[in-house]
């Protein structure tokens, strides 16, 4: 059902692009196929997020009228935004606004946190940002975690947060961070936060788990926050010196390509990350960026 929705929306989106107002100002875009990847650098995380989504064709390409949309940031840790352990609240805020402006009925922001949920929601600044933008912040509820068939290469079934899978559209909003076991945690790894159960056992085959989860959730859009990235002591850091300003947001429809470009901020080549290789084999996307329709911009 989701796939059908996706295809329908893609069709609707391309029609909108074809006959709708010209999105790519100054470019003859009517014939060109839509971008798969847009990276924007700039001072304001809020503005670069909006710009990156606009470059992909605007939020209406992904979200239809009356949709229930789940936005899944990384709110895993009880850390303030400058620690770069959780997604930048301004990025989330921009997305909630875009989703609601695109006509969505609801924009739900949710994450199964590692530290106490309320502390993470409040201290990451995301709760306040979502409230300002008019979205709904939801705590993960034990009764809303159910075992589902993942049909993965490694994980056959697992406990999944129902609020995420029951949404009409899913947007993944990870932050780019160092991770001691899988080197980097980018977009696909963020799906651990939409699972329940004994998820700390995923670490016994983390690269395979990441890909199985990414194949299951299939977001319409991935927006990687690389405004301030965590370069050591991942995935939660704890000192300003663990972070580095990159002032970039990468939005894309290809989750593998988004992660591949995210890796470049750490000086890591895509083929050094085993999960990107697995993901490409599974047909989830492309990590060779030269094969991806992408555009970089500075504002």
């Amino acid at each position: 059902m989701k796939r059908r929705d996706f295809i329908r929306d893609m069709a609707a989106g391309s029609l909108a692009l074809r006959f709708g107002p010209v999105v790519f100002a100054g470019q003859a875009s009517a014939q060109a196929p839509a971008l798969q990847l847009a990276a924007v650098e700039g001072e304001s995380p809020y503005a670069i997020t909006k710009e990156a989504v606009a470059m992909l064709g605007g939020m209406k390409r992904f979200v239809g009228k009356g949709d229930k949309v789940v936005i899944k940031p990384n709110i895993g840790w009880d850390r303030t935004p400058e620690m770069a352990a959780c997604t930048n609240p301004e990025v989330v805020k921009a997305l909630v606004e875009l989703v609601l402006d695109a006509g969505a009925k609801k924009a739900i922001v949710i994450d199964n946190t590692t530290n106490q949920a309320k502390r993470c929601y409040v201290r990451s600044g995301i709760q306040e940002a979502v409230k300002q933008a008019g979205g709904d912040m939801l705590f993960v509820d034990d009764y809303r975690i159910k075992r589902m068939a993942l049909k993965g290469a490694w994980i056959k079934e697992w406990e999944i947060v129902l609020d995420v899978v029951e949404a009409d559209k899913i947007i993944n909003v990870p932050i780019a961070k160092h991770h001691s076991l899988c080197r980097l945690t980018l977009g696909m790894k963020n799906w651990l936060g939409a699972t329940g159960g004994a998820r700390n056992q995923f670490h016994q085959g983390l690269d395979k788990a990441v890909v199985d989860l990414a194949a299951f959730f299939k977001p319409q859009l991935t927006v990687l926050d690389a405004y301030r990235i965590l370069v050591r002591n991942g995935p939660q850091g704890g000192r300003l010196s663990d972070t580095q300003l990159m002032k970039t947001v990468i939005a894309g429809t290809d989750p593998v390509a988004v992660d591949a470009m995210g890796a470049s901020f750490f000086g890591v080549a895509p083929r050094e990350l085993p999960y990107l290789g697995f993901a490409r084999e599974r047909g989830l996307g492309e990590f060779q960026l030269e094969k991806v329709r992408l555009e970089k911009r500075k504002i």
Partner: protein, 540 residues
């Protein structure tokens, strides 16, 4: 009564409010109630040998009792309200039929008071077990709220099943917002004691207040001079005896000369039940005869005997190895005083356990010896110490846990983590894991990883990243133990050794550190330095 309902409501509101509200510092919550309690004030000051400014509030209660009698018990005490309400229910349902004249001795609460006070002289803090505020707070924090939350959560599960998602969701979101933990190791025993105390009201109205409450006994002794004395208008009195039969606390309004000022809580039952309206409480400055305060025969002989009993109880409570060597599982909350001081001040109210966002703080049963029952300890398997949280230190009413800012708290070590290499996945099975390293909240991390070789059953060798602990950096927060995927007996675990508050429960010899004597002249260093043999040893 409106006043009791209001105070009980305030108590509930404040106790529920003692959690992470979104602010790092939550200010004064339910602990303020405790500062008005003269028994806790007296016992804490005597047993800890220090006067605390915030116990000045207790003087208000003392003065009010001297002027107006035990109005505190009848109008303010939230546990009294619970007992009065349940007595009322038992009476209405005919479980409780008050006798015409109650003869049971009222002396027990005075004996309890004397034993508690005698113990306090020796630094033994027994007040917390029967003090009404401690008892009620502990019962609600670890048994009543958790049971209600559990029931509500199940209800939301049923509502989800019925398809009423909206209602179900608002219940579960509210519970999460109020942070009510539902796992308490001693929740069942504390809850049983609370139910027992309530059930006793089926035997006698306000059983607790009449026979057990040491705080009520203390206030009773103060009530001798109070200004409002019961007066029966002899001309109107028809000697029906209803007043005495329905007196909540056995104060015996009739006959007038037998009325006990030390038992009366000014509930006004007698005045309102009197068919002829003969009972009033006019102002009278005449002090009550001592024998009339409670009509309890507190003879010198009995007083001496109970005092002795209290004194003898002290060594009896301390026949425990807890004073010789620290218990490995006794991980006290950050900011806790050295053990002997902690025990002298902790009133077992469990507010720290209510405030703990992860539910890791649990009531102790055996780990701290008999005098440490129901004091708090961190059980990392249940919950860990949140790195940026110092709520437990903020809510302690007696300062047994010193108030700490978050920066101060992060410098405190409450224990030390250890790896059990026989169970750890990379060490024992050659499987990747290092979940503990990922969760370690300090930066740089106190858990490092090294590549280790493990021989597998087939003889091959696996190389994996395996955790190693940096003692200098580990604070003992326990998140590693909490998140370890080895479920039954985590392969990484925290014990109390190395805790900042202790000089004896230490791990590494640090004798080259400069001391005050090094900075003084030569003759100063020839004097013996006074050092306690053990910081868990009591003061006498």
């Amino acid at each position: 009564m409106a006043s009791q309902t209001a105070f009980f409501g305030l108590f509930l509101y404040l106790l529920l409010g003692a959690h992470y509200t979104g602010e790092d510092y939550i200010g004064s919550t339910v602990q303020r109630f405790f500062h008005f309690d003269p028994l806790l004030a007296l016992v804490t000051i005597v047993s800890a040998r220090l006067v605390y400014a915030y116990f000045a509030f207790a003087l208000i209660t003392v003065v009010a009792t001297i002027l107006f009698g035990r109005v505190f018990c009848g109008w303010v005490c939230p546990l009294g309200a619970v007992h009065q309400f349940s007595s009322f229910v038992f009476k209405k349902t005919k479980f409780l039929k008050p006798t015409r004249e109650e003869k049971t001795s009222l002396a027990w609460k005075y004996y309890i008071l004397i034993i508690v006070l005698a113990g306090a002289l020796f630094g033994l803090d027994l007040a917390g077990y029967l003090d009404p505020f401690s008892f009620l707070t502990r019962s609600f924090a670890t048994a009543v709220f958790p049971s209600l939350a559990y029931a509500l959560s199940s209800l939301s599960g049923i509502l989800y099943g019925l398809g009423t998602t909206g209602l179900a969701r608002s219940i579960s979101q509210t519970l999460e917002n109020w942070t009510i933990n539902v796992t308490f190791i001693q929740g069942f025993s504390i809850g049983l004691l609370f139910l027992g105390a309530v059930a006793l009201n089926a035997r006698k109205e306000r059983f607790w207040c009449r026979y057990l409450c040491p705080t009520g006994a203390l206030l009773g002794l103060l009530s001798r001079w109070n200004l409002f004395k019961l007066k029966i208008d002899e001309e109107k009195c028809i000697k029906c005896g209803l007043c005495t039969q329905h007196c909540e606390t056995q104060a015996q309004p009739y006959p007038n000369e037998k009325w006990k000022s030390g038992e009366c809580i000014y509930c006004q039952n007698c005045a309102s039940i009197c068919p002829t309206g003969a009972i009033r409480f006019p102002v009278s400055a005449r002090p009550e005869k001592m024998t009339n305060v409670s009509n309890v025969d507190l003879s010198r002989r009995k007083l001496i005997l109970t005092t002795l009993l209290g004194v003898v109880a002290v060594p009896f409570f301390r026949l425990t190895p807890a004073h010789k060597r620290a218990s490995l599982k006794l991980i006290r909350p950050p900011g806790s005083l050295p053990e002997y001081k902690f025990l002298a001040k902790c009133v077992k109210c469990a507010q720290c356990m209510r405030a703990c966002p992860t539910g890791g703080l649990q009531p102790v049963l055996t780990e701290a010896g008999p005098e440490g029952i129901y004091t708090p300890m961190l059980v990392p398997k249940v919950g860990y110490c949140e790195y940026y949280c110092s709520l437990c230190t903020q809510v302690c009413p007696t300062g047994a846990i010193k108030k700490l800012t978050i920066e101060e708290k992060n410098k405190v070590k409450i224990g030390t983590a250890w790896v059990n290499k026989n169970r750890c996945l990379p060490y024992a099975l050659g499987k990747p894991c290092i979940v503990c390293e990922e969760h370690c909240p300090v930066s740089p991390k106190a858990i490092k990883f090294l590549e280790v070789e493990t021989k597998l059953p087939d003889g091959s060798v696996a190389v994996q990243k395996a955790p190693v602990i940096d003692l200098e950096l580990c604070t003992g927060c326990g998140i590693c133990e909490n998140k370890c995927p080895v479920m039954d007996d985590p392969a990484i675990f925290v014990t109390s050794v190395g805790e900042t508050r202790s000089v004896t429960n230490r791990l590494l010899l640090d004798i080259s550190k400069e001391t005050p004597a090094d900075r003084q002249g030569a003759e100063f260093s020839k004097r013996p330095i006074e050092v306690r043999r053990s910081d868990s040893e009591p003061q006498f």
